[in-house]
């Protein structure tokens, strides 16, 4: 399918008015700052790289080059160079755009997320099976990590997709909510739901509370959501009682309370996580040394490790008395 031969390609000068947007182009946002730079360049040097289009029913539809086409229209350029290709299949049409952008400039995740279900369903139609994550990665040119992040957005209720879409349409300095915020928040809520199910009665209420707290600055860093996950996993990792974790999460998810994730985490969990980390490190040192002794032979340690161990020994003696 992706190796399908391309036929009837030819270069043509086409008036921008005869070209239409590709109905399947998933791209939603065109950053005005980027458009300005492109327009300045086109005004000075013209369009150096032809756009790609296909012809259908007397009209030309864009495959690649929407920004150049938009700039040409805005600058009232009479014709633009275009490579006219054969009309692709619907799946190929979508995948062409995915691949062009995966290789060159990255779309917004929401842009990809909105069209990913189409790619999956078109793939199913052609191949009689749902693509695996690996196949999806191969055909779209996206990494598996990117696909997973997109899926978090795909699964968002429409209300939040619209909220994000409206936010992304604002000029950059005015944007408060980002795709990363929703991705981090969804990951955290998934963890909370899995580990402390009773802490969330309605997911949307939890989302609303977290978004509200982010907007007013109670949560001021999107990485704080990772700490919310840590609070949820503290039951297993730190032996925290479920009731305690639930109470703390409930307070964080209460829109009326000014409780921030960072404050709760710093006060009640951070030291315990640090201690756990140190315990794991001690364990690892212990295991290494124990293995060296068990061999029964003379323990051979490099000078650097020996010196560090001696330094540690002195400090442990001081601490433990």
């Amino acid at each position: 399918m992706t190796t399908e031969k391309q036929t009837h390609r030819h270069l043509k000068e086409i008036p921008p008015d005869r070209i239409k947007r590709n109905p399947d182009n998933p791209r939603l946002f065109f950053r005005p700052e980027e458009m300005d730079t492109l327009m300045a360049s086109i005004r000075r040097y013209g369009i150096q790289v032809p756009i790609s289009v296909y012809e259908d029913d007397g009209h030309f539809f864009l495959i690649d080059g929407e920004r150049r086409w938009r700039a040409a229209r805005k600058l009232n350029i009479q014709t633009i160079p275009a490579i006219v290709q054969a009309k692709p299949t619907p799946l190929r049409n979508l995948l062409l755009m995915f691949n062009i952008h995966a290789l060159r400039e990255q779309w917004d995740y929401l842009t990809i997320a909105n069209k990913l279900p189409n790619v999956i369903s078109l793939f199913e139609k052609e191949n009689y099976k749902e693509p695996t994550e690996e196949e999806l990665s191969e055909i779209t040119g996206l990494t598996r990590g990117q696909i997973r992040r997109c899926r978090l957005l795909v699964d968002l209720p429409d209300k939040y997709k619209t909220m994000l879409q409206e936010e992304l349409s604002l000029p950059k300095p005015l944007q408060k909510l980002s795709e990363d915020l929703f991705i981090e928040m969804e990951r955290a809520l998934k963890t909370v739901k899995a580990r402390v199910p009773s802490a969330i009665t309605r997911l949307d209420s939890a989302r609303d509370a977290l978004i509200k707290k982010f907007r007013v600055g109670t949560i001021n860093n999107i990485t704080d959501f990772r700490k919310l996950s840590k609070i949820a996993t503290s039951i297993k990792n730190l032996g925290v009682k479920e009731a305690k974790a639930r109470a703390v999460i409930a307070e964080i998810l209460d829109p009326q309370k000014k409780t921030s994730i960072q404050d709760v985490f710093a006060e009640q969990f951070e030291i315990r996580y640090d201690e756990r980390k140190i315990a794991l490190n001690i364990e690892s040192i212990y295991e290494y040394l124990e293995l060296s002794v068990k061999d029964g032979e003379e323990v051979k340690l490099g000078n650097e490790i020996r010196e560090r161990l001696l330094k540690l020994k002195r400090l442990i003696e001081r601490v433990l008395g």
Binding site: R21, R43, R70, N76, Q165, E166, L170, L174
Partner: protein, 285 residues
């Protein structure tokens, strides 16, 4: 379909703005996403023709003073068709978010108007504008006025206000200031018997000619010659109504040049008066 390349938010802004401009100027000549003329390298979001010799063009964008308008300005100034007034429409949020009003001030300095649309769809003209070719910014005016006395500066500032509303009347006011200066110089010259009282009270062209011919003004003939040309030109320019779009465009361009030329002539006449030790008393009614 109109505004089909905008995202939903900007499309709403554009539609509200379009309704506002239609309400204000009518539907005549309304076109969306269409060029004004092939020689103008800018396709406005929409434009309309409220009069035979005027175009109002609008760029809807949520980045203030976009590149498209910077490009448009230079092409519009060279354009020989109907005079074009250009507005940028943006959301109120963007307008209020302009740090130190840097972009807003740039737009105004270059003669663009600004219209905002708030979240409830309320449209408001934040800054009106006149055709770009007619625009003389406050900055340009003040720089041209430097060196003139306060009294004349105030007179020219007043003329500038008139000019921004009506280029012909503004130019006429500049002409009256220049005329008053010449009359004042001529009266002083007559008192000192450089020219006769009769020569000083003739029509303006004759007064200038009398001063030009006087021995005492031999060193100031360049200034007087300039004044004579200006007086002749501004009267033709200011008083003749345009018969077609090209004449309208030319009139506006001439009025702009005439206004700034008038200020230049006034400065030279002021220098002449200083050199002769005359105190100019000019009253413009």
């Amino acid at each position: 379909m109109a505004f089909d390349t905008f995202d939903p938010r900007l499309k709403t802004v554009a539609e509200k703005a379009l309704a506002f401009f239609k309400d204000k100027y009518g539907n005549t000549g309304l076109k969306t996403d269409t060029e004004i003329a092939p020689e103008i390298g800018w396709t406005p979001s929409f434009h309309l023709k409220p009069g035979s010799f005027r175009i109002v063009a609008v760029e809807v964008a949520d980045n203030l003073y976009p590149q498209a308008l910077k490009i448009a300005a230079s092409d519009i100034l060279r354009y020989n068709g109907p005079p074009i007034s250009v507005y940028q429409v943006c959301s109120l949020q963007v307008y209020q978010g302009d740090k130190n009003q840097t972009n807003i001030n740039s737009l105004l300095r270059h003669g663009f108007g600004i219209v905002t649309v708030d979240d409830n769809g309320t449209v408001k003209t934040q800054h009106k504008c006149i055709p770009l070719a007619q625009h003389i910014s406050e900055e340009e005016l003040h720089s041209a006025l430097s060196g003139l006395s306060n009294a004349f500066r105030i007179m020219f500032e007043d003329a500038h206000s008139t000019y921004l509303a009506n280029e012909g009347q503004g130019l006429q006011q500049v002409g009256q200031i220049v005329e008053a200066m010449i009359s004042s110089i001529a009266k002083r010259a007559a008192k000192r018997r450089v020219i006769t009282p009769a020569e000083a009270s003739g029509n303006l062209a004759a007064v200038i000619d009398a001063l030009y011919g006087a021995r005492g003004f031999r060193n100031h003939r360049a200034a007087l010659g300039g004044a004579r040309d200006f007086v002749k030109d501004f009267r033709n320019t200011a008083s003749h109504p345009p018969k077609n779009a090209m004449q309208a465009a030319q009139k506006i361009k001439k009025c702009r040049t005439g206004f700034l030329d008038g200020v230049g002539i006034a400065k030279k006449l002021s220098d002449v008066a200083k050199a002769k030790g005359y105190k100019i008393q000019a009253h413009v009614t």
